[in-house]
Amino acid sequence: MGISVKNISKSYDKAKALENISFEVKPGELFGLIGPDGAGKTTLFRILTTLLIQDEGQATVAGYDVVKDYKSIRNHVGYMPGRFSLYQDLTVEENLNFFATIFGTTIEENYDLIKDIYVQIEPFKDRRAGKLSGGMKQKLALSCALIHKPKVLFLDEPTTGVDPVSRKEFWDMLKRLQQKNITILVSTPYMDEAAFCDRIALITAGKILQIDTPTSIISYFPKQIYKVKTSNTYKLIQDLRVFPETHSAYPFGEYLHFTSNSANFKEEDLVTFLTTKNHIDIEVLKTEPTIEDTFMELSI
């Protein structure tokens, strides 16, 4: 009773937003859609929450068909859209009450489910939603999406524009929710957040690149990666662009990640090349790919 997506396609005029997307989310799974702006994540969420009808393909959520059974789905899913969509002129408590009432329940009835999150904003329950900080809005929106005890929770980029500390707190909250038997589909453009999911789909330009667990997905990276550093990063990028054996060279934190197009590549060759280009403090070391490396390699 998770989510099943089969060959879903959707176009807007000529632009293809989703092209033949298929994946399964198991019941109780925390599944991440990882991809940048424009990947099609929001279109997919809108189809799965019955706000948009696909051009082709089928999808079920909690066992219900997204087209035929749209009314049932609406009762059984919680949806937190990317843009803050609560009533700015209602207070925190009024918003929560409103969503509870719409779904024919009360705050008291399902308080247990939201308690963890709601206690953090309860001291501000008489404040208008529009006057909350970003972090508090996010917690209220999540509380409202949960108040009817949904079986499946859809979170569209809940952490975009949120600082790293609040992001970590948010993922901790999701992990606790998962314990309460809720299936969660969450999207994010931050590749490092993939590690918090049970399984992820890398998505870009309307297509899924790969689906697997965060630890397995890096095994799709086809090459040995080296991390490279010298005293002048800008010059290093320029020089690596003209190095004949370069397959890819991208900044990754304090190092550049480099892969070679040659099967016989040796670290010394690169060190020699960089020395002739007058680099100093040269470091070339083998390293493991990250999910972001994998995403970039697969999306080229």
């Binding site: 702006d37 424009g38 524009g161 600082d163 500390v165 992001r167 800008y234 900044p251 970039m296």
Partner: protein, 244 residues
């Protein structure tokens, strides 16, 4: 050799009623430096940045940007800087060319100069096929690259970038940073905010703001050594909310 400062901030404070959004901050940014301005949401980054670009008056303290005082010479400050943000950069309903012409005009460039700059910019970004397309139809990453180039049209000494890469795909995000490096290499000063901690590592120096104050300011290397961790992400987590 003493480095010339592009930004000089002393005791800068901003109060909204009883609330101190920016609390007596102090820092300098050297000419040609890539300076990362980090902090949690609500730490006061945007308020501080608004004062530096001359659109918000400080309650007390002073700031010199490109040699001009933000209080007494706000208009000169605005002419000497470039600015782009994630939220507002270009007009979606104008084409790339029209945006360049529009902003060139705003910055007071002559028609001939605008024409010349437009050509250079489109060549550099390799956007010949897209030059007459509406900006709204472009992927976010391209839009941000164009916006960055547009913020450079009037040849400013300092460029302020407010979360320029939020949501941008990883490859374009890196191309964007290469543009930043290029400009810094040309002597421009870059003042940038970001929530991507790997990007914090690309900065020459980084400040971390917590509840209105600057809690740390140093090179990424020194910050990591000081807090005995191996990434800027961990430095940030330690400082911003004392989370291990």
């Amino acid at each position: 050799m003493k480095k010339e400062n592009a930004i000089q901030v002393e005791n800068l404070t901003k109060m909204f009623g009883d609330f101190t959004a920016v609390n007596n901050i102090f820092f300098q940014v050297g000419k040609g430096e890539v300076f990362g301005f980090l902090g949690a949401n609500g730490a006061g980054k945007t308020t501080a940045m608004k004062m530096l670009i001359g659109i918000l008056k400080p309650t007390s303290g002073s700031a010199q940007v490109a040699g001009f005082d933000v209080k007494s010479s706000a208009e000169d400050v605005k002419k000497s800087i470039g600015y782009m943000s994630q939220r507002f950069s270009l007009y979606n309903d104008l084409t790339i060319k029209e945006n360049i012409t529009f902003f060139g005009g705003i910055y007071g460039l002559k028609k001939s100069a605008i024409k010349e700059k437009t050509q250079i910019l489109i060549d550099e970004l390799g956007l010949h096929d897209e030059a007459n397309k509406l900006v709204g139809s472009l992927p976010l990453g391209w839009k941000q690259k164009v916006a960055f180039s547009v913020s450079l049209l009037h040849n400013p000494q300092i460029i302020f970038l407010d979360e320029p890469t939020g949501g941008v795909d990883p490859i374009t995000r890196r191309q964007f940073w290469e543009m930043i490096y290029r400009e810094a290499n040309n002597g421009k000063t870059i003042f940038v905010t970001t929530h991507y901690m790997d990007e914090a590592e690309y900065c020459d120096r980084v400040s971390i703001m917590v509840e209105g104050k600057i809690e740390a300011l140093d090179t990424p290397k020194n910050l990591k050594a000081k807090y005995k961790v191996d990434s800027m992400n961990k430095v940030f987590l330690k400082l911003a909310r004392n989370i291990e």
